[in-house]
Amino acid sequence: MLDRLVGKDRRPVPSQPPAPTLHSLPLLDNLLKDALDPGYADAAARRRKQVAAGYPHHRSYVYAGLGLAALGILAAVAIGQQQAGAPDAARARTRLVNQISVLTSNIDLFTKQLNSLRAQTAFARDRELALSKTGTELAALVRSLELDTGVTPMSGAGLTVRLSDSAKPIAGGSTRDEGRIQDRDVQDVVNALWAGGARGVSVNGIRLTAQTAIRTAGQAILVDFRAQLSPYVVTAVGDPDQLQVSFNDSPVARRFSTWTQLYGLGFSVSRSKSLNLAAAAPIAPRHARRLAPVTSSTGAPSSPPSPSTK
């Protein structure tokens, strides 16, 4: 088999191990055979002939040195160019991250300004309303409505219900919903707390108003259109005893007590002496009715005008 690897003019092919030839693929054969340029063998034969004929030949490495220097420069240029080009994606990403942080801080700034302007408006309104008796009643009504609708922060004793997805891996891929908290679970818990006499409820820090929706979108639950992930902490401010008794009797609590064992869902109820509920964004009023000009004692309008918000 060795003589098959030797060239036609029977040149010796040094350092060729006896390799099996692939009869159907001379391409690979030649590829491996010609890896050492046959020019070297030719030059060596020529040199040997020269030496045998008496011509002195000293090996020079000049050209080899120049070639290697060229390789070094080429490699350095290629590597340098690659390094300069590679961080383009990283640069774009840092630019986006910077934009996000700038815009987020802008949002925070504007939210602070908005809150202070709202406080100024409320102060001015209260000052105007305090000038008359109807106005004072109106101001009290507005304040209690604001508390009930979630526009002002609320704090007090209450109940905290914590729901979390199952920690066990769900068999059958992510299409199995049984190990995940659904929107109706959170809705049931919230409704049970309202029914139990809660004065204010918030989910994961988002205060619930009459218009807050709790919906599932994919794998997250949207509370007031903000995506929330497990665990879901439902906080309710109210009389803790009443809340706890009525909540533990509610259907949802009974369902969850079995589900924690069946599906491994997380469910815990705890009382607390001081809970803080953040304020919700005020609902923009859609209907307004102009107050009749108020006089101090007589001439009060028959039905107390109330700002109706929808």
Partner: protein
């Protein structure tokens, strides 16, 4: 070894001076480097086999680089640039590995 020193000197000069290749040449630089590497590995193997000739080395070096760049350039013009460049890299890689294996055999056995 003078050639080794020459390689190091070339690398250092390239990294310090940071010459920028013209834009139209930049896509072919990586493949030129691989082709040059193939010539260098062949040369090292020839040295170990005692058949080294520097003229053959220079010619194989230059021709490898030019032909590899030419093939990739032609492929870009024809629209098969990625495939042809893959083929060139595969072939050069096989040759490099084959030469490296022979070098390894010579260095660690003989």
């Amino acid at each position: 070894m003078i050639p080794g020193l020459a390689l190091v000197v070339g690398l250092v000069v390239g990294l310090i001076m940071h010459p920028t290749a013209p834009i139209w040449l930049q896509p072919y630089l990586p493949i030129a480097v691989v082709a040059a590497l193939d010539a260098v590995f062949g040369a090292v193997r020839a040295v170990l086999d005692d058949v080294f000739d520097d003229k053959v080395f220079v010619v194989s070096f230059v021709s490898n680089v030019l032909i590899a760049a030419l093939i990739v350039f032609l492929g870009d013009k024809l629209g098969v640039g990625a495939q042809l460049s893959t083929a060139v890299v595969v072939v050069l890689g096989i040759r490099i590995f084959s030469n490296a294996a022979a070098i390894r055999r010579k260095v660690f056995r003989a």
